[in-house]
Amino acid sequence: MQGRRAGKRKWQAFPGNNKFFCRGLLMSSRQVAILVFVVVTILVLAGLFFAFDARYLVLNIHPVGVGAIFPVIGALGLFYSLAFILKAGCIDPGIVPRALPDECEFNTSLADEDPAAKSKSYVGTPALYKTVTVNGQPMRLKLCVTCNVWRPPRASHCGLCNNCQEHFDHHCPWVGNCVAKRNYRYFYLFLCSVTVMSIFVMGCNVAVISLASTQGDNASFLNALKENPASVIEFAIAGIGLICVMGLAGMHTWLIAKMETTNEDIKGTFKQRSRGDTVINPYLKSRNCCENFCVVICGPFPPSLIDRRGYVKESELEEEGDQQCYGATGVSSPGPGSGHLVQEDKHELTSTAEAVPSETSGQAVAAVHGSQNEETTKLID
């Protein structure tokens, strides 16, 4: 009888900067402290709500059955908020697996031969590009030097996680993970659920204070505040949460309506060029916003491509410092005459597919998007 199979599982030899939990079932980036803080904050707010406001409303709203709706809505809101943030933060966001050694040379051979297609920003080793057509729009794909894969259209390499992700939106420190193809819907629904529940909790706080300030012998607004400090604390926490997420929820609603990612919006991938060249969004098949929302929120569920629980073949393991990893972990050799790579892989300027015509629009810059409040779109480290 065969014993337990020896050898590493792929999550144990994963080359990116990720943490894995439950034997590879769950994963996130290395920085999860903020995610833990957000979850704890939600739980504390929920605890205060159920212990004080919900109880007060159930007991003081007549007829009695009507007040029961508040804890029910609160429980549903808590369930959905936690489910969405944990799904957003603890699953594979859409990582493109790195190429294995036998694929690397083949990938390099597919590059455009046009010298003008090479990046102007690198000293020494130029980047490699190939041109494809997406729904009639020519797009230039880049060969990722870290992952040694041709980045699909809309994909980008996250400098923090050190992975290429499909439909890369941004790296979100609040969920401790990148937001990309597989978890964008959970991230968006988390923003919406927190927005709605913040408004709901604040409304309940106002209701409690209003009721308390009209009942009892020494009924007054100040007395009501003193007798219900939990409501005041909840109002403050929910208010801060609302300020943080409402703008983001609005921005992502607008991005979904026009079928763009945060990455494309910041880089202006589909904006009119100064020369007057027309660049259309090839992913915006329909101008119907409802259909775009249906696609994003209710569309199919693409599976994880990195096969975390699979076993790594011995021949695929490579030494990376003091660890063993599988898949491309170093620099590709683009061709004769290439110099050394000056920039480290981690510092690689990320780029999605560039809509042709373009010059250096593929070179992203670190941006703190003004409307994103606490959110930082990290495109490079």
Binding site: F79, Y80, A83, F84, K87, V96, P97, A99, L100, D102, E103, F106, N107, L110, V132, T133, V134, N135, M139, V149, W150, P152, P153, R154, E166, H167, Y186, L189, P282, Y283, K285, C294, V295, I297, C298, G299, P300, F301, P302, P303, L305, I306, D307
Partner: protein
């Protein structure tokens, strides 16, 4: 072709968008080894399976809505439509290899083994084929 055989990688076709689709162009390395019509039929069938996996129809929307209402917990209970189509593609490729390609010295790989980036096609050396 060297003694160890040759690997070629059928790339993704993005002409219709970012959906999973592989280029049905007949590789020159397979000329004389595999019938072009047979190869194209195999690739088109694989593309059709993934088209059905990613189809935006009533079924997909119902699955999405149901998943949303359960807080996406039901995905841990039953396989999604996409996962079932991926398994269908794996089974189809295995069957095609067994019935058509292996006797010609060609093995078509599962695209999931390559993260849906490409399809590996292994071409055995002619010497091995004759033995």
């Amino acid at each position: 072709m060297d003694r160890q055989g040759k690997k070629i990688f059928i790339q993704r076709d993005y002409s219709l968008g970012t959906g999973v689709r592989f280029s049905p162009e007949f590789p020159r390395e397979l000329q004389g080894r595999v019938d072009e019509a047979v190869y194209r039929a195999t690739l088109e069938h694989i593309n059709d399976i993934f088209d059905r996996a990613e189809a935006l129809n009533c079924r997909a929307y119902c699955e999405g809505c149901m998943a949303c209402l359960t807080g996406y917990m039901f995905q841990y209970c039953i396989k999604t439509h996409y996962e079932r189509r991926v398994q269908e593609a794996t089974d189809f490729i295995r069957e095609e290899n067994r019935t058509k390609y292996e006797r010609l010295g060609v093995v078509i790989g599962d695209p999931m083994d390559r993260g849906l980036r490409c399809i590996e096609v292994f071409i055995m050396p002619e010497v091995e084929l004759q033995t």
